[in-house]
């Protein structure tokens, strides 16, 4: 009896090994250069019928969209060897590297994912500079230095994450020496920091834009001259000078200049109330008109004082253009919902914080078909489609120049400000800075004392960041986990676990050569199977490991055009759902670091 069981076990293991080898063979025969020739089926472990692989079993070597591309951007992800992964896209994506550098796509060991059933919520295992030591729920998270880190190991032993909801609390923590670094300081609190020699303000350069949007399906905003008149009739310099903290800028373009190709073309209109009034009169509104300014009273870096700025705009509209605007402060969720469906008659005040450093993150989301501004502007949509197919930034520059000029001409919105934010640190904390993307890179910090204590806005929700979108969770994950690429201190996407990801000629196939000799915190070796398994767990809706915390996997959905092998939905509902989830994802994430300020400030 026992012998028969042993025999069965040996046969089973043998069968699995053969299956794994078979998958590899199949992959090798596929032409990775040719998307058409790439197998579309799901390989081991990715199909809904395949059981989750147990620890030590054969790894997933490929995940693919069985029903073809549809709206998805990724067709398949395949481990062609232990050190090579091939991403086959449905269409070129010039922002591929910038997207995969996002910590949401950080890699965890395939065995560990299987052990945890696809939900390693509390104890992530990564390759990062810090190892999670302990998460004392409600109190703090402790990390220790990863002695075997493949890069330069941190200069200190222990990193502690704590949280405090109010900006003033965070300042007090640093002032009192309980912490060395606090995030997201409210602008009125700058004075407190500047008045204390032991503290320094660290400028946060996360690219963002605040704008006033028009829905062109409502009168009189269907008239381009009305929109242009408002563009000229708003004194944006006064708004930035009066209501924004130091370091904020008046935009010349919708996209901030830190983003490559964001600032090409003709700069925005100068403030000229006389010309604006003349234009409005020519448009048939010599006496102005009545409208509504819709907003939500939620603090964001791009709009630190929503009601105050709304009243300033209301006053300017009345004084400069004779436009009588009522202010309608809406509940945040309802506001976003109505905006994303293009239902708001009037002007809406909203903004955008960058998710990843690429111009498509600003322009494509807003102007490549989004109904937020009413009927999409066909000339802008077609130019953006052209830009999205161009992987080479230099070659894309004239395209985005045209796009920016078209936006200036059509005026679907008026960009008002690029808001600045700041963190606070102890003056003795060496090498402290805020990167434009992601959390502070504590591995490079030089604290006087050990441990280094960091105070952020709120406690993380979970530390399985594939399925999280709040800034607090992501900043903790970034200390432990790494992706194929990561953002450097200037916000560029640079190789991390990949030595390089190179596109084919048309930008539809990206081949990533992986870094060798990297080990996870649990001692297991990093290889291509881990990459495929991690992406399959996040992106393949049919995977048994597609579990997560809420199962939403918002960033996989948002950045890659939806999940692979997702259950079919009714066409109309599907369209609505996509629009909503997209907005939710970006709203949550792009503004997440400041979003936690919301509970205090949005209660009003």
């Amino acid at each position: 009896m026992r012998t028969r069981r042993r025999l069965s076990a040996v046969l089973l293991v043998g069968a699995l090994v053969l299956a794994a080898c078979g998958g590899g063979d199949e992959t090798e025969t596929a032409d990775s250069e040719s998307p058409a020739a790439a197998p579309t089926g799901s390989d081991t472990g990715s199909g809904s019928e395949a059981p989750p692989p147990a620890s030590g079993e054969a790894e997933t070597t490929m995940v693919a969209n069985e029903a073809g591309c549809g709206d998805n951007k990724v067709e398949s992800i395949e481990a062609t060897s232990d050190t090579e992964v091939v991403f086959t896209l449905c269409s070129p994506d010039p922002a591929f590297l910038q997207k995969i550098a996002f910590v949401v796509f950080a890699i965890q060991p395939s065995e560990y994912l299987a052990e945890t059933g696809g939900a390693p919520l509390e104890a992530p295992v990564g390759t990062g500079p810090f190892v999670l030591e302990n998460w004392n729920r409600g109190s703090e998270i402790t990390f220790t230095r990863n002695q075997d880190y493949w890069g330069e190991a941190p200069a200190f032993e222990t990193l502690v994450f704590r949280w405090a909801e109010e900006s003033a609390q965070r300042i007090t923590e640093v002032q009192s020496g309980n912490a060395q670094y606090g995030t997201n300081i409210s602008a009125p609190d700058y004075e407190l920091v500047n008045a204390d020699d032991n503290l320094v303000l660290l400028e946060d350069l996360n690219p963002n834009v605040f704008y006033m949007g028009f829905t062109n399906t409502f009168e009189p905003f269907d008239n381009p001259d009305v929109r242009r008149a408002i563009a000229m009739g708003i004194d944006r310099q006064r708004i930035v000078d009066t209501y924004y903290p130091e370091g904020s800028e008046v935009p010349d373009f919708f996209t901030p200049c830190q983003i490559e190709n964001g600032c090409v073309g003709d700069p925005w209109y100068d403030f000229d109330p006389e010309a604006a009034q003349a234009l409005l009169a020519d448009a048939g509104y010599p006496d102005g008109f009545d409208t509504t300014i819709h907003l939500r009273d939620v603090f964001r870096v791009y709009l630190p004082e929503p009601q105050t700025v709304a009243q300033e705009i209301q006053t300017q509209l009345a004084e400069n253009l004779n436009i009588n605007a009522e202010i309608n402060v809406m509940e945040s969720g309802a506001f976003i919902g109505e905006v994303s469906e293009g239902n708001l008659d009037g002007i809406h005040l909203l903004g955008w914080g960058a998710d990843y450093p690429h111009v498509t993150n600003f322009l494509d989301y807003h102007f490549a078909g989004n109904v937020q501004f009413g009927d999409p502007y066909p000339d802008i949509v077609s130019a953006l489609a052209e830009g999205a197919a161009e992987v080479d930034p230099a070659a894309a520059e004239p395209i985005y120049e045209e796009v920016n000029n078209l936006i200036r001409d059509e005026v679907p919105m008026v960009p008002i400000a690029h808001g600045a934010a700041a963190d606070v640190a102890s003056a003795s904390l060496g090498n402290a800075s805020v990167p434009p993307f992601g959390a502070p890179q504590f591995k490079t910090f030089q604290p006087e004392a050990d441990p280094l204590v960091f105070v952020q806005n709120a406690e993380p929700i979970s530390l399985y960041c594939s399925d999280e979108s709040d800034g607090e969770s992501l900043s903790a994950c970034e200390q432990v986990l790494e992706g194929l690429y990561q953002y450097d201190a200037e916000g560029n996407a640079v190789p991390a676990l990949a030595e390089e990801c190179a596109p084919n000629e048309d930008g539809t196939v990206w081949t990533c050569s992986l870094r060798e000799g990297v080990t996870f915190h649990d001692g297991s070796d990093f290889d291509a199977g881990d990459v495929v398994a991690t992406w399959a767990a996040g992106m393949d809706a049919s995977s048994p490991l597609h579990t997560g915390n809420t199962g939403g996997f918002e960033y996989y959905t948002y950045l890659w055009g939806g999940l692979m092998n997702a259950p079919a939905v009714e066409p109309t509902e599907g369209a609505t759902e996509t629009a909503t989830s997209t907005e939710t994802g970006s709203e949550t994430t792009s503004e997440a670091p400041t979003g936690s300020e919301t509970p205090t400030e949005s209660e009003s």
């Binding site: 009066t242 105050t308 300033e312 006053t315 004084e319 202010i327 309608n328 205090t600 209660e603």
Partner: protein, 341 residues
């Protein structure tokens, strides 16, 4: 046994006189009590002998007299009167336009959030508007709003209570259970829900707060009607052939008003507070309307750095609520002398 029997024994031959004087004293005491009851006088309000000889005072005049003898009630009246005057004369006494951004005015050297100064006694708000002027204009909104809410709630609530109490039966059951349903919700939560459904506007705040407060007026009115309709003069009206509506209108309602007046005065304070709370939550007055609750909402995060922006609107709400509460307490003491016995 006690003092009386002791006195009788000690009295001796003079015992009969003593007994008579005791009876007279007893009679006086009883008479006093009757007088007090019939005139509604409290212990400390005994009229002097001269007054007893004067023309009898009406219940209202006596109430007024009692009211003005209580300093706190008078203080409440003074606050409310002052606030009413401020509201009425706002365009005259306010030093600036409440929605004028003063940093836009040429030749001025002011910045938003300027601290209180001789030119701007309560400082400037985050949009560089004079805060004193905004608070003065806020009275113009909050006071009429509080009074309107209570009037609306009294008119509807008292009518429901009167009908329920007077006619009784199934009508009473249905109406009062309906009131119980409203009372079953936490008032502010229900008001938020109503205001949210109706939309962000000050008139919707009026409706929301009036709806959540009307059950208390209905219950008080019903209780008054139930007790008054058993009194003899109502039975006499009925015997003389008066119709139900006539009895309700001319006999019962006038006699049931006293508790409503007290409750209504106190209710204004609560209504102003709830309306400010709704505006604080963004459901009431919309910017740039100078409303105390929305002024607080806009600035409350600045309490550490610019406390004047938060303290003064808060004080305005507090003083107004205090004024109406003191006035209400004074009226209750004056109109319900049983509390003083």
């Amino acid at each position: 046994m006690g003092a009386g029997s002791g006195g009788e024994q000690a009295g001796g031959p003079g015992g009969a006189d003593s007994l008579a004087s005791q009876e007279a004293a007893q009679q006086r005491r009883t008479g006093d009590s009757v007088t007090r009851r019939s005139t509604g006088l409290a212990e400390g309000d005994e009229p002097s002998d001269d007054e007893l000889l004067d023309e009898p005072l009406s219940v209202w005049r006596l109430a007024m007299r009692r009211f003005f003898r209580r300093k706190l009630g008078v203080l409440g009246l003074a606050i409310v009167t002052l606030l009413a005057l401020v509201a009425l004369t706002a365009p005259i006494i306010a030093p600036y336009d409440p929605i004028q951004q003063l940093d836009r005015v040429e030749g001025t050297d002011v910045a938003r959030r300027d601290a209180p100064s001789a030119e701007h006694l309560l400082g400037l708000d985050s949009n560089a508007r004079d805060q004193l002027s905004r608070i003065i204009y806020g009275a113009r909104l909050s006071l009429p709003l509080g009074v309107s809410i209570v009037l609306a709630a009294i008119i509807v609530g008292a009518s429901i209570g009167a009908i329920a109490g007077f006619f009784g039966g199934w009508l009473d059951t249905i109406l009062m259970r309906l009131m119980d349903v409203i009372l079953g919700f936490p008032a502010l939560v229900l008001a938020i829900a109503i205001a949210y459904v109706l939309g962000n506007a000050i008139q919707n705040v009026l409706i929301a707060v009036a709806v959540v407060t009307l059950p208390q007026y209905a219950r008080v009115m019903r209780a008054s009607v139930l007790s008054i309709k058993e009194v003899d003069f109502v039975a006499a009206s009925e015997a003389l052939g008066a119709s139900s509506w006539r009895m309700l209108r001319t006999r019962i309602l006038p006699n049931a008003l006293t508790p409503l007046i007290v409750l209504g005065t106190l209710g204004i304070a609560g209504a102003i507070l709830e309306a400010a709370a709704l505006s604080f939550l963004g459901l009431g007055a919309q910017p740039p309307t100078p409303e105390w609750g929305s002024m607080l909402a806009q600035e409350y995060t600045l309490i550490r750095t610019y406390p004047h922006l938060v303290i003064y609107p808060g004080l305005a709400i507090m003083v107004t609520v205090l004024g109406f509460n003191l006035l209400g307490d004074g009226l209750r003491d004056a109109l319900d002398p049983s509390l003083n016995e």
